[in-house]
């Protein structure tokens, strides 16, 4: 089967994800302040913020993974396509025109 540009792009993204997590595990994402006796320039501060945000995203993502694993959501569970997943939902008798989940989230914001 011929791979499309989108397929290739997704494969590269998957590799990049794994690389980011490996980097985090190896401690590559360190919170090391720039050593400088002068005040940091805006560009340097921006770079620091971006590095910190990237590191925090990896850390938070790993924490979420841990929480999900504790709930039994592991990579051992077969990965379904969206269509298969939605079919499961329909087979269980849910109304495809309801909007319980979205409205449930919106309602939660009021709690």
């Amino acid at each position: 089967m011929e791979a499309t540009l989108l397929d290739l792009s997704r494969r590269v993204e998957k590799l990049e994800r794994k690389f980011d997590i490996l980097q985090f595990d190896r401690g590559t994402f360190r919170d090391v302040p720039l050593e400088s006796e002068r005040p940091l320039t805006l560009a340097e501060q921006g770079r620091q913020m971006m590095e910190r945000a990237r590191r925090n995203a990896v850390r938070d993502s790993l924490h979420f993974r841990q929480v999900l694993e504790e709930m039994g959501i592991t990579d051992d569970i077969p990965l379904l396509s969206r269509k298969e997943l939605q079919q499961l939902y329909l087979d269980a008798g849910f109304d495809p025109e309801a909007n319980d989940f979205a409205q449930g989230i919106i309602a939660m914001r009021e709690e």
């Binding site: 792009s9 945000a53 993974r65 999900l68 959501i73 939902y89 849910f94 909007n99 319980d100 449930g104």
Partner: protein, 136 residues
């Protein structure tokens, strides 16, 4: 490159079948993962609603696990989704009317999956230049 920022009220529609799911699904299936963005709080909200539905026995354990497994694969394992840059051509995808109103006031493009049509989404996805109209 267009970036789709998914509010959790839209995000959940990607993994279940409810009003507007077809719109979210069309966007997710016709864009690269590097075009998706979410906030950590959005992930939390989405996980929370699935946990609530499971605890209230609205969904089965099988649906709960399968939905969150897909969700994890699409978003949690994808670190790029958390990175929003100032130069991004951002489109908010949300079913929360308050967010949509606020975003429009800031001149952001918005998509409400509960009211957008497939034709509007197709047009948006096919357009080369940033769309000027709202699909809402």
């Amino acid at each position: 490159m267009r970036i789709f920022y998914f509010d959790s009220s839209a995000l959940a529609k990607g993994d279940i079948k409810e009003k507007g799911s077809v719109i979210v699904e069309r966007i997710l299936e016709n864009t690269a993962e590097q075009q998706w963005r979410v906030l950590m709080i959005g992930l939390l909200e989405t996980i929370s609603i699935f946990v609530r539905k499971k605890n209230n026995k609205v969904i089965s354990q099988t649906i709960f696990q399968s939905a969150l497994r897909t969700f994890k694969n699409d978003f949690l394992d994808n670190l790029k989704v958390f990175k929003v840059e100032a130069t991004n051509d951002l489109i908010l995808v949300s079913a929360d009317q308050r967010l949509l109103t606020a975003a429009k006031a800031e001149r952001l493009q918005v998509i409400n999956p509960e009211t957008a049509t497939l034709a509007e989404i197709e047009q948006l996805l096919q357009a080369d230049s940033p769309a000027q109209s709202h699909a809402e």
